[in-house]
Amino acid sequence: MTVARRVVALIVAFALVLGLVGCASQEQTSEQTTAEPIKIGAILSLTGTYAALGASEKNALDLEVKRINDSGGIDGRPIEVIIEDDATDEAKAVAAASKLIEQDRVAAILGATGTGQSMAIRGDVQRAGIPQISMAGGTVVTSEFAPLVFQTPWSNTIVVPFVLEAVKSAGISKIAVLSDTGGYGKDGLAVIEAEAPKAGLEIVGNETFNAGDTDLSAQLTRIKGTDAGAVLLWTAGKEAATAVKSARDLGIEVPFFGGSGQAKLEFAEGAGEASNGFTFGTGRSLIPANWGEDTENYSVVSDFAERYRSAYGEDPDIFAGHAFDALAIVTDALKRAGTDADAAALRDAIEQTRGLVGFGGNFTFSATDHNGLTAEDLALYRFEDGTWVSAQ
């Protein structure tokens, strides 16, 4: 080949390469419309004694994720909630946390469903430095303060005194306590023992049971032998239904009181007639009208309830609400901090949440308060004919 031909060949080759590169980059920009999803992890108890709670939480998360993504996601980026089952077991919760952090590289963790599990994953969460929004009601979740950990339910610190007030107003002075040995029950028992004297109540019976216990007759027989005017049941597990049923069968006639743990229809289904008259304290949003129909709380809660009902055919319980709140807190923080925010910035944004209207009430976090709710967000209910009615 002559020099001239070589030069021409070189120029043509160069032009071709430039052209191809140009094409490639054009393809890239046209593919930019599918944005990378924001990954959030969720550790729920889909099996085990808290299975009913986890199922509601999953329903709420699925519903909300779909709604958010259908309306464009956050700043154009879809969110992806990766759900892991901890089987109401602390070891499994830790394994789930490791997987979400190391394999899925999630930006935040919603969970766990239960207090014991929420505390168990704290080590992994702190090592990874990502925020954790727990859906468990144990006081320890925020009283053993950790900058990364937040809580959406009404904690035992506010629910216990509220329920004790109700017991006192019913004219009762002596109570027997029946609680489970898991995180939530143990935590609740500690708060009850501290608050009962302040409310003017005497604890004359104090029995505990393990998760999974199907025969509570020993504990109930011992309670029957006391002169308690009411039984305070503090558990979130399925044993509650057996407890009230056995109690009635054994001839215990005094009223039963409880907390958020029984705010689910499965309790009435399992206990049948024995659940009638069971009085419990939990958030106002269980019956949205409690807020007053012209409030923002009412519209947020009833809108969620309507969508939940049309998707699943039943009213949402408080556990669905806790999951709704957890996701709302994270997405609200992401909007403020930007979807590219790193873990520390996201955590700061969450802590700066002010007056966020959710199912639980009005969330306002601070550097010392990671629970965000007060007794103003609670109401008293009673089970009648398989569902709850207001008991104010």
């Binding site: 889909l46 099996t47 085990g48 299975a51 009913a52 199922a55 040995t181 029995e207 505990t208 049971f209 393990n210 999974g212 216990d213 199907t214 025969d215 509570l216 007759s217 020993a218 504990q219 027989t221 011992r222 032998g225 399925k238 239904a241 057996t242 049923k245 056995s246 069968d249 054994l250 001839g251 499965e266 289904e269 399992g270 049948g272």
Partner: protein, 290 residues
């Protein structure tokens, strides 16, 4: 004193359940020399099938019968699919297979019935009976009745029918039984079906009291096994006795010591028996493999 009576009643109630489950262990042990660790899952199936059949609208007696019969069929199928293919009948291999089988049954139940507790209506509605300061739930009477009937039927079958004698013959000397024309492998299938039926009956009659769920089998399996060991493996009377004694021990421990130790009682009993008297309370000479 009324407290003691209440604890005894509770103990006899759970004791009857353990007796039925222990019977299942003993029947299979007698015919194969192996422990069927899926026995707890048959207990679970009894409750689950009962809930399912009643949810289809069937009246309780029909649903109950179908639940027990269905569990027996599943037990026989389990034996034919999982145990019979083990040609040398080595007990250790059978044990491995039943452990695996129990996991399969549990996961199937989880997928078919979900993770939640499922309630079952009591067989007869009404308040519990009060006597001498203690209360007896109506369903507890059904538990006792079912146990008495099941044990009597088993005793009758074993002593009076050819089938029962054939089962006993197979458990004493399998090859000798085959020599006299007994279908030994058929007897093994029958023993699994019978064990499943007893376990399911236990799960069914207690479900109205405790609700049932896919994972209740493991705990009951351990306790029934402990009861069978306590009485002495291979002897049906011993299984029933072991079950009742274990139930009473549990209930009295829960009542007078601490309810949290209740579940530990079965394990402590199991260890104690294995250390002190491995053949159980009523067990005679050990089986020697020559």
């Amino acid at each position: 004193m009324s407290d003691l009576l209440q604890f005894v009643i509770a103990g006899l109630k759970s004791g009857s359940i353990y007796a039925l489950v222990a019977l299942g262990f003993t029947i299979v042990y007698a015919s194969t020399g192996a422990i069927n660790f899926a026995q707890g899952e048959f207990y679970m199936l009894g409750g689950m099938l009962g809930v399912w059949f009643t949810s289809l609208g069937l009246p309780m007696p029909v649903a109950a019968l179908l639940a027990v019969a269905g569990a027996a069929v599943i037990g026989a199928a389990f034996e034919m699919l999982a145990v019979k293919p083990i040609s040398d009948g080595d007990p250790l291999r059978i044990i491995m297979v039943t452990i695996g089988g129990s996991v399969v049954l549990r996961q199937l139940a989880l997928h078919l019935f979900g993770p939640d507790e499922l309630p079952l209506d009591p067989f007869t509605a009404g308040p519990s009976f009060k006597a001498f300061g203690a209360a007896v739930e109506r369903q507890t009477l059904w538990v006792w009745g079912a146990t008495v009937v099941a044990v009597s039927v088993l005793a009758l079958v074993y002593r009076r029918t050819t089938f029962g004698k054939a089962m006993r013959a197979t458990s004493i000397r399998r090859d000798a039984a085959r020599l006299v024309g007994i279908d030994a492998s058929g007897m093994v299938t029958a023993s699994f079906a019978l064990a499943a039926a007893f376990g399911a009956l236990a799960g069914l009659v207690v479900a109205p009291l405790t609700q049932t769920a896919f994972d209740v089998g493991a705990g009951i399996g351990v306790k029934g096994f402990a009861a069978a060991i306590l009485g002495g493996l291979g002897n049906p009377v011993a299984a029933v006795g072991g079950g009742l004694i274990l139930g009473l021990l549990e209930s009295l421990t829960a009542g007078y010591l601490d309810p949290l130790y209740k579940d530990a009682v079965a394990l402590v009993v199991l260890l104690a028996v294995l250390f002190v008297r491995p053949q159980g309370l009523l067990g005679g000479a050990r089986r020697d493999k020559v």
